[in-house]
């Protein structure tokens, strides 16, 4: 948690008496985030010792939804790839865990391998979907997801059209199993958040931010647009694959129609756009909000979805930058310091 109006930072100190403005992004904000992140992670990791099972199970849902939201945000918010087909990798990830488990791999390790497998599958897939102009990309990815769905159903070893339970975890004591699932989910969500943060702070992040703002201008100033987009597509496939692995590990069974359901993409769109696209805080807020609404109101039937759907429409019109966009506009708080601050020469604390 940091305030943007910080003055220290190595670049800032070196150029303090020069007459040129300085550009600064590291320093205290980044350190606050690092320390805060480690503390938060430690507290969250301790939670299975404190809380009742129901709460940790809800947290698992939050973790995999947050991982999906972060990945969709990376695609749509930074690389301009609006996908309605990320459920391809949720489904493939879930089924990869099942397949690995049939081969004797422990499902908690299988979750990570599922992420890797999805990235491998995403590479040839990317050559097909990247033929599409931005406008058709959404539809193309959706059709691909349906192809993977229909191919999965053909494999009777994976349960065909009716799905299959994940039996290899049933030998573990339920309390221990819940804790292990929780830690795996926490680790996956943590890796997705940290991965996005490091990716966006690095050279690729600069390229992606340029692409987000203006693709043509980015390309003409030397950004390899195609390569940057493909990297993001692979990373997002891996993240959604691991999240799909978490879905099967937490539910202990998988059904093709729900694993490959377009609802996953719908949830991702909802979480990211309501939370705030093009930020890292937004998807996490969106995921938290969505998890809370889903947990508390899903017992009343489809009403919560009606309300969520109805909430999207005014949000799209009056809050295009999402809830976090509202926070950014009203306060100087930034949790993930991704932006660069320009300081005019001489002493000044206020530049943004």
């Amino acid at each position: 948690m940091s305030l943007i109006r910080s003055t220290s930072g190595r670049t800032g100190e070196q150029a303090a008496d020069a007459d040129t403005p300085t550009v600064d992004r590291g320093g205290r904000p980044a350190r606050y985030t690092a320390v805060g992140g480690v503390l938060l992670f430690a507290v969250l990791a301790y939670m299975p010792y404190l809380l009742v099972t129901g709460v940790t199970q809800t947290m698992v849902v939050f973790f995999y939804l947050a991982a999906m939201a972060l990945m969709w945000n990376l695609l749509a918010g930074y690389a301009g790839l609006v996908s309605v087909g990320q459920q391809a990798y949720v489904g493939l990830g879930a089924y990869a865990v099942l397949q690995f488990s049939n081969w004797g791999v422990q499902p908690y390790i299988g979750v990570w391998l599922a992420g890797l497998a999805c990235a491998v599958i995403a590479l040839p897939t990317s050559f097909a979907v990247f033929r599409l102009r931005a406008d058709y990309f959404a539809v193309g990815t959706w059709a691909i997801a349906e192809v993977y769905h229909l191919l999965t159903i053909q494999d009777s070893g994976l349960g065909g059209g009716s799905g299959s339970p994940l039996t290899t975890l049933s030998g573990i004591d339920p309390v221990m199993r819940d804790a292990l699932t929780y830690w795996t989910a926490l680790a996956v969500a943590g890796c997705c958040a940290l991965g996005c943060f490091l990716l966006l702070r690095g050279r690729l992040g600069l390229a992606l931010t340029a692409i987000r703002d203006d693709e043509t201008a980015a390309g003409s100033s030397g950004v390899n647009v195609g390569q940057a987009k493909r990297t993001v597509y692979l990373v997002a496939a891996a993240g959604c694959g691991a999240a799909g692995g978490l879905v099967i590990v937490s539910q202990l069974n998988v059904a093709p129609d729900s694993a490959y359901s377009v609802q996953w993409s719908a949830y991702m769109i909802f979480m990211v756009l309501l939370g705030g696209i093009g930020t890292l805080e937004g998807p996490i807020i969106g995921a938290a909000l969505f998890t809370i609404v889903q947990q508390y109101f899903s017992s009343d039937g489809a009403w919560y979805l009606i309300v969520l759907g109805a909430a999207c429409v005014p949000a799209a019109i009056w809050l295009p930058r999402g809830l976090w966009g509202l926070v950014e506009r009203l306060t100087p708080v930034r949790i993930f310091p991704l932006g660069r601050r320009i300081r005019p020469p001489q002493h000044s604390h206020t530049a943004d």
């Binding site: 749509a76 609006v82 309605v84 097909a128 033929r131 599409l132 102009r133 406008d135 058709y136 959404a138 539809v139 193309g140 959706w142 059709a143 691909i144 349906e146 192809v147 229909l150 191919l151 159903i153 053909q154 377009v262 719908a266 769109i269 909802f270 756009l273 309501l274 696209i277 039937g301 489809a302 009403w303 979805l305 009606i306 969520l308 759907g309 109805a310 909430a311 999207c312 429409v313 949000a315 799209a316 019109i317 295009p320």
Partner: protein, 289 residues
Amino acid sequence: MIWIDAILQGVLAGGLYALFACGLSLMFGVMRVVNLAHGDFAVLAAFLAYSLISATGVSLLWAAVVTVPVFAVFGYLVQRGLINRAMTGGPLPPLLATFGLSVLIQNSLLQGYTADSRALAPGRIGTASLRLSGQISLSYLELLILGLAVLVLGGLELYLSRGRTGRMLRAASDDPEAASLVGGDPRHLYGIATALAFGTLALAGLLFAARSSVSPSSGPSELLFGFEAVVIGGLGSLWGTLLGGIALGVAQNVAGQANPAYTLLAGHLLFLLVLIVRPEGLLPRRSIA
């Protein structure tokens, strides 16, 4: 013989895909808006017609005569009230808004009508068929649907190329600012485009329900078929959309004849093949819709 039958049935199914898809093509062509609720609005129209028929006992024809204009007006209002406003924020807000509508419609129908699928009884025409040979017979209802699709697509094509408002729609599609300079208010024109799209999708929704059945959750898959028809045919051409719909229907029916499990897969694979080999579609043309 069964293969010829499969192809003919595919052609008939394709007409309905095209009728449903032309509104999608129109909205995308004029406004660059991907209406994620297109299928759900069609399902909504079918359910409203269902209620109308069960409440008053009118025939399907009269239900269509009422539903289609009502939906056209409804479309104009949705465009003016929601989508135009969302469009000012770039391409993503309309996506979120129409997605919200999709979730809203699906789940409201689920609450109001349960998850059961419903069919609209087409009357005597539903069971009659044209017998071409011992193994091939074409349902009059499906022939009528194909005829309607050709008529609607042809009418739209004529309207866009000759009609005064149609020409302004093409102008707004090319350059909304320039169009407003010569007297066309883009907000109104966008409303007209959506009204046309909603009228055709309502008709398609009713015909879907008359031909087989619809359930509250069948919107998204119809949307996907519609999209595929548009892309296979080539954006920018309504006749292309008809060809795309027919190609999709034939692929599905022929593969389904070989093995029912491959019906949907074949359609998606044809779509991907066209994307990879010929991304501009079968009948590309520079125009709207």
